[in-house]
Amino acid sequence: MFKYLKQLTSLVAMVAVLFTFTTESMAAKKSKTLKNTQKKGFVRCGVSQGLPGFSNADAAGNWTGVDVDVCRAVAAAVLGDANKVKFTPLSAKERFTALTSGEIDILSRNTTWTLSRDADIGLTFVGVNFYDGQGFMVRKSSGITSVNQFKNGISACTNIGTTTELNMRDFFNSKGISYEPVAFEKADEVVAAYDSGRCDTYTTDKSGLAAQRTKMSNPDEHIVLPETISKEPLGPVVRQGDSVWEDIVRWSLNAMIEAEEYGITSSNADSMKTSDNPAIKRLVGAEGELGAAFGLDNEWSLRIIKQVGNYGESYKRNIADTGILPDRGPNQLWTKGGILYVPPAR
């Protein structure tokens, strides 16, 4: 009797184990990062040490910016709460090591997507959340209005460990100008050195120039030259080897951009559930089973739109309204003359 009872209990236990395994979705099982994130209860996100408009902390330690919003979107999709993010400020030098070593799970830190970074060092870029290009800032009083006025012996302040350093060399070499590169580890020190007159020009991504200009002792004394010397597609990065997590981050960003395209905003998202357009209904979770593919529920994208907003809202809140770059330029939807074009969520 007892013998059978013992067998029976072990059978029950086995079934129970099997059952719990099957309720856990295939995707979640495959993605270690997703499982760990859900277990921890927060998304670990690497950001900059302070770049207004992209990732910047206020006095109370609240992070804002378009890069920050990507992480918030993932948190909203995965954990249901856009505030469940732990931000780690990283220097340009530390950022990739922090990601590959597993200290963070998303790197959303105005990072340029290049071939060698994508292919070489164990990283995968999931998309572009800001199309940028490298430019130069000079003092207005210098009378310089174009990069063609640069002369031999010019000193240029910049950050180390960025594509900026390489582009700068390509640019000055192609123009045949000798220059003095002064490269600092932290952006604040670059700004301080340029501001004090150590350098004649300050070069980095144009969005960065616009943002740092607001930190100068007298922003009106400086201008950003019109020329753009490089392509800098900035976007979030994940570790190579977890394709489910990669998809979640990619589609969290895409959902924000597509939401803007269909006119879904944080305020009207709920009412859009009854829309006639099936594409809108899919995006707010009223139709289809899109979330299941990542091991998420069907309202993942609805939560992103409600809690973080669509891309246009994020841009307006962080970059346009703060006076950094009121003109969206290439970061406008493809339907409105920009180059933001994401694959359809279906």
């Binding site: 210098s142 009378g143 180390i160 460990g161 080897g241």
Partner: protein, 383 residues
């Protein structure tokens, strides 16, 4: 060979533990890198670096290899360390002796200097010299010439460049002078030991080191001219000095802060060394008729040095290692150029960090060996 098992046991356990721990770390790193698709290898060292460096002792630009960039960083580290060690030693010795001065003003001043500079974190001092002190310097167009040829500006110190003709002959004359001095010194010592005669070696040496190079100018065909920096306009309000040599403000700030900081510790070593020689030694030396100079040179210093050298070696090592704080103010040392830019551009974190660590280790060990050799030389010769 009479090892006992009980002596050997703990040693063996330690060795095995060390091997296992290192083995585990290596294995762990390998597995993790493989999982993340990161290749391991030093092949990148021969690739083109494609980034420029502000200040270099050897010819370098972005078309050279990463290995060349490594050398640039290493030489810049050595440069700032060597200059720093020399200045720190000079200031340290002066301040150390000054602290023992019977003159109240001098010894108080020295004491305040030591207490002030050694109790402020070095990084803050570097920031102070770079972002506060040097920032107060004028822009190139406003700079007043010092002696008509030096220009100290916010963009650096611009000095005249030397333009030599027949530089090798000048170099030979200096080498000849040094050899002659060494020979005279040995002869003088012999003369002193055999006949008790004293030779004014110091005066003769000074004469030689000036006269021989001077002769090379007069009859050797050596010629030296200077290229004086000229103000050059880049834009309406933007100027720089062209021609001549420029010392970047980053180098000046770093050397200044490293030397002033380390000098305080060296000063304390020197003071301890001199105070460590018992008073009786001085009195005994004076009683056998040595002049105060001879007392210092022949009796006090040889004994004091034995106390001074070992802790001063530590300070030299500290200075060399502290020079890696250069990255904070854009001085292109090994950490900024190689463990900074090169690491970022290649993503070879483990390789580059291990090379950098090994390089600092080698530098430190070289200084240690040199100082230990010197220490042995001046140590008591037990017969």
């Amino acid at each position: 060979m009479n090892f006992k098992l009980k002596d050997l046991g703990p040693q063996l356990v330690t060795v095995i533990a060390v091997v296992l721990i290192f083995g585990f770390f290596t294995y762990n790193a390998q597995i993790n890198m493989e999982n993340r698709g990161i290749d391991f290898g030093y092949g990148f060292l021969s690739q083109e670096s494609s980034f420029d460096v502000q200040f270099s002792l050897i010819e370098y630009d972005g078309s050279h290899s990463y290995f060349r960039a490594y050398l640039v960083g290493l030489l810049n580290t050595i440069l700032v360390s060597v200059i720093g060690i020399i200045i720190a030693t000079i200031i340290g010795v002066i301040v150390g002796v000054a602290r023992l001065s019977p003159n109240y003003l001098i010894n108080r001043f020295a004491a305040y200097y030591v207490e002030f500079f050694r109790n402020i974190p070095l990084l803050l001092q570097i920031f102070f010299w770079y972002f506060a002190a040097l920032r107060a310097l004028p822009l190139p167009q406003d700079a007043e010439a010092i002696f008509g040829v030096f220009f100290l500006t916010i963009k650096g110190l611009f000095v005249p460049a030397f333009i030599w003709e027949n530089f090798n002959i000048f170099l030979y004359s200096i080498i000849a002078a040094i050899i002659a001095i060494v020979v005279i010194k040995i002869q003088a010592k012999k003369l002193q030991e055999t006949q008790g005669k004293q030779t004014p070696v110091f005066l003769i040496s000074i004469g030689l080191i000036f006269i021989l190079p001077l002769l090379s100018f007069l009859i050797g065909g050596v010629n030296l001219s200077f290229e004086i920096p000229q103000l050059k306009q880049l834009a309406a309000t933007s100027f720089v000095y062209d021609g001549g040599l420029s010392l970047p403000p980053e180098l000046i700030a770093l050397t200044l802060s490293l030397s002033l900081y380390t000098a305080t510790f060296i000063a304390e070593c020197v003071r301890a060394g001199i105070q460590g020689v018992s008073k009786g030694q001085k009195e005994a030396a004076a009683s056998i008729g040595l002049t105060p100079n001879q007392v210092l040179k022949l009796v006090i210093m040889p004994q004091a040095l034995r106390i001074i050298i070992p802790p001063t070696t530590n300070q030299y090592l500290n200075l060399t290692k502290n020079s890696s704080l250069a990255a904070a103010i854009a001085y292109p040392d090994l950490v900024l150029v190689f463990a900074g830019t090169a690491l970022m551009q290649t993503g070879k974190a483990i390789e580059i960090v291990s090379i950098t660590m090994f390089t600092y280790l080698s530098l430190s060990i070289s200084i240690s060996i040199l100082m230990n050799w010197y220490n042995k030389k001046i140590a008591i010769q037990e017969k």
